[in-house]
């Protein structure tokens, strides 16, 4: 096992998938010879040729529509959207077409071979349009899977599983961890099952739930809480659609408390959906209201990024409030 960063792990997964199946193509803005603005696709054009790894013209709508066409005719399309903030021009092709191809055609056609990879999230001083976390827009769309890895190991295994999944997947990559997160990653081919949460750390007093880059935040908060004698169970959701209700509910039944943390704004965020479901599943076990530590209900700001972010301190305060309730 080698220690590599998340970008290398993604590159590794893409290489393995493209080697294994020559009907797999990869495309997007600047992904060709240049290897993408973050260099996730470095060297792939050299390895697989310009027919299988190429720059597209600058049109997300076109990229997604093209992916639908390829996948509807038996190909696997790995499409990169340069920043998640720029996925919105493609939203019609993704939510009305990719998501509904199978359903609306009675499964005469499907686009299960699509994966949209896109860097998301803040904490990089990127301001408004290089920081958003738009996952909730996609979780409301039936027919799409939504996946968010938290480290290099997961990025590789979840990406390989997503590429081979028979449904269109929107794969959000936490860009602030691209280089920051370095860890042991097996060299060969492996997959991490979609739709399964991971219990990262066991605890008894409260369940902390997050995904992607916010996992680091709740782990830090849990360490602060441990110094106050509070034992946190930590869960990484990994797949948001479909999400693993059982693992979360089992944990909450044990701890009696739940805190959900995400970067996207509070209102309409995915934490609301989780809270409502867990409240139904675990009502009689809950010792305090389910707590949400999320972004503010504002667009993503530049200078007040720290203030906006659901950081470890805010999470720590919410843990204590939940314990005292």
């Amino acid at each position: 096992m080698a220690k590599i960063n998340m970008l290398q792990a993604i590159n590794d997964a893409l290489t393995i998938a493209m080697e294994a199946d020559d009907k797999t193509v990869l495309f997007g803005e600047d992904v060709g010879h240049f290897g993408g603005v973050f260099r996730a696709t470095s060297g792939l054009q050299e390895k697989f040729g310009r027919d299988r790894c190429f720059n597209t013209p600058l049109t997300e709508q076109g990229i997604a529509g093209f992916a639908n066409g390829l996948a509807s005719n038996g190909m696997t399309a790995i499409a990169e959207i340069q920043f998640a903030d720029y996925i919105f021009p493609a939203i019609d092709q993704i939510v009305n077409e990719s998501a509904k191809f199978r359903y609306r055609s009675g499964n005469e056609f499907n686009v299960g071979g699509i994966i949209y990879r896109t860097p998301y999230g803040g904490g990089i001083a990127g301001g408004h349009y290089h920081s958003q976390s738009p996952e909730a827009y996609f979780t409301q769309t039936a027919g799409l899977k939504v996946v968010v890895p938290r480290n290099a190991y997961q990025a590789k295994g979840l990406l390989l599983a997503s590429i081979r999944d028979k449904n269109p997947v929107v794969f959000f990559e936490p860009k602030r961890l691209y280089r920051a997160s370095v860890g042991e990653v097996p060299e060969g081919d492996y997959e991490i099952e979609l739709g399964k949460a991971e219990v990262v750390k066991e605890g008894t007093d409260i369940t902390l739930l997050a995904w992607g880059a916010q996992m680091e935040i709740i782990e830090n908060a849990a360490q602060m809480a441990a110094k106050k004698g509070i034992s946190c169970e930590i869960i990484d959701l990994r797949t948001l659609a479909p999400w693993d209700v059982d693992t979360v509910a089992t944990s909450v039944k044990k701890t009696g408390r739940l805190l959900i943390n995400h970067e996207a704004p509070l209102t309409g965020g995915f934490a609301g959906e989780i809270a409502a479901t867990i409240q139904e599943e675990c009502f009689l076990y809950l010792e305090s209201p389910i707590s949400r530590v999320c972004g503010l209900d504002t667009p993503y700001p530049l200078v007040h990024e720290k203030e906006y972010m659901p950081d470890a301190l805010k999470t720590f305060e919410a843990i204590k409030a939940s314990m005292k309730y």
């Binding site: 060709g32 240049f34 720059n55 600058l58 349009y129 503010l296 504002t298 530049l302």
Partner: protein
Amino acid sequence: MSNATSTTETVHRVSFLDKDSLSIPILKILQADGTTFEKAVLPVIDQPLAEKIYDTCVFTRVLDERMLGAQRQGRISFYMTCTGEEASIVGSVAALDNEDVILAQYREHAAIRYRGFSTEQFMNQMFSNEKDLGKGRQMPIHYGSQALHYQTISSPLATQIPQATGVGYSLKMQGKRNVAICYFGEGAASEGDFHAGLNMAAVLKSPTIFFCRNNGYAISTPTSEQFAGNGIASRGIGYGMHTIRVDGNDMLAVLAATQQARAYALEHNAPVLIEAMTYRLGAHSSSDDPSGYRSKEEEAKWQQHDPVKRFKLWMMNKGWLSESDDQGLYEKYRQEVLAAVKVAEKLPVTHVDEIINDVYDTPTPRLKQQLATLKQHIKKYPDSYPHSAGRV
């Protein structure tokens, strides 16, 4: 007739057209040595206008050089230059009325400067301090000013294109003798918004100038991987739009084309497309390294077409500028920019209360409650929120 025009020629054997069937000339007025082509028809220009144009170019060069330096020193987080494209930007804005509305992409700061954006205002935006008109919400270079009729930059590409069509239409409805001008790169012209915006402008007769800076690259993607047709100009013609292609490194050609485009747009209540052929001499942005995708030789070749130098030679030929005036101008702006950096970086950032303003016209009760909770939290942990601590 619904579809074809009455002049459509008929043929009786299959005959296709290709991009070369459409020959689009390129307007050139200034030669490399600063003299004009023999038969060239000059734009309307006198010494004060030429001086203002040149002054803007020098300021922009100095700003770009100094701020890229400031970015490398870690004093600002991000920067983008317009080096090499000054003639396209300044030559076009100089043809406009001050109340014509500008919708820019992000590389057109020379245009807002031409309108009077002060050195201090540039710095306030780049340092996101409390005097930034945009209240510290966007990355450096996202300028905007209602007073200067320059709409605030938005990063998602091409969104300003159909908006410009709407702005142009509104100017017509309001009976103003003004046009909208919309800047974009040849990369952005691949977005759906480009096609929607141009088609609407042509059909709805919006007095709007669509100004494409065709500078050869969209980040690392060369034009050969961006479009296969005859540049962007052919699309203007395709949408039924008055169209011209100019040498984007030729100040006089851009000025002449834009002056006439404006007159045409007003007289006919119709859009015009200008495609300026130029070159992005610098990196895409301070986060980009062009050596990964293009050669030094290519860049060096384009250095020889430096639009500012070419215009300077013309001014000197006219006796409107001397070497020592020129050096004095650079020196003046170097000092001015440096002094402005020092002031701007010391000012505090926007107050934290601004985080909830402008989400709506007035903050909702829920936003007010979120701000109150946030301020309580900052009071408890002042060290972790240095921008706001001490001011809550």
